[in-house]
Symmetry: C2
Subunit: 180 residues, 2 copies
Amino acid sequence: MYEVEVKVPADLEAVRARLDDRGATSRGAVVQKDTYYDAPHRSFADTDEALRIRSERPKTGDDKTRITYKGPLIDDESKTREEIETDVGDGEKLDAILRNLGFEPAATVRKERDRYALEGYAITLDSVDDVGEYVEVETEVESENELESAREGAYAILEGVGLDPDDQVRTSYLGLLLGP
Amino acid sequence: MYEVEVKVPADLEAVRARLDDRGATSRGAVVQKDTYYDAPHRSFADTDEALRIRSERPKTGDDKTRITYKGPLIDDESKTREEIETDVGDGEKLDAILRNLGFEPAATVRKERDRYALEGYAITLDSVDDVGEYVEVETEVESENELESAREGAYAILEGVGLDPDDQVRTSYLGLLLGP
């Protein structure tokens, strides 16, 4: 499985109007608070890994918390990395466990995330605290030789909602928050 | 909060019959599989900590998985230690996350646990693979000066089901499994 993901800065209100015009399906909005941890025994910046607790609050319904491990890039071209994730009952308790083990919260990324689906792509409108507004267009393909056409499709979606694929930003929100 | 816990080796069938005679309340039986992890950056044996994933399978209903951190003894006399625990959606994924972070499964303790309640005490009948059969009598008290009478009460429960408090074993099942 390969993931194609293109992210560009955007005026979210304008994009939302275009998505409505194009008949995109709303998948609902959530507030996500991501806490990233430093490890006691290696530098995740050096190893290109990440450990995160994500708390997600939907407009209606219960909060959900997940722990996520992201491994280093397996393949630089396709931006593929191992990602392992599972639900957690109590994020504060997991935070306390991690701190006791020597992991320290390094940064928190908070965003409002509004989700749409259109033509096989997931479209995410993110308003990220202290970072800005971004649109992500994402899909998955089975094999490497589908990557190019999937990327072209993502660019077409972006152009269709008035955005320029050339504005693409490859830095994560965490990276954008922490700065160069 | 202080915990009083007394554990003795026992013939579980005999104890079960005595508990029924005394009108103990059955709290149901589960199979528990506990995986203990070694840390990459310190020796939990030296620091007197433990990190565990517990998968619990009830006779009826869904499996439940929890992660537990146990801190070092805060007070040797009362056997008090910090214990932090939360539910986890998928134990295998959490195991994969821990392994990727450098934590390695050190030992697995599997047991059938049958639970009763009697006179304010929790009574646990454990049949532990490769270790043996044990009964634990446990309660919690608010203050340190209640510990002595709580301990006497636990001894009385043990005697009431035909066991000798002098047979008390202080070693954990993990310790008993790994040996001296």
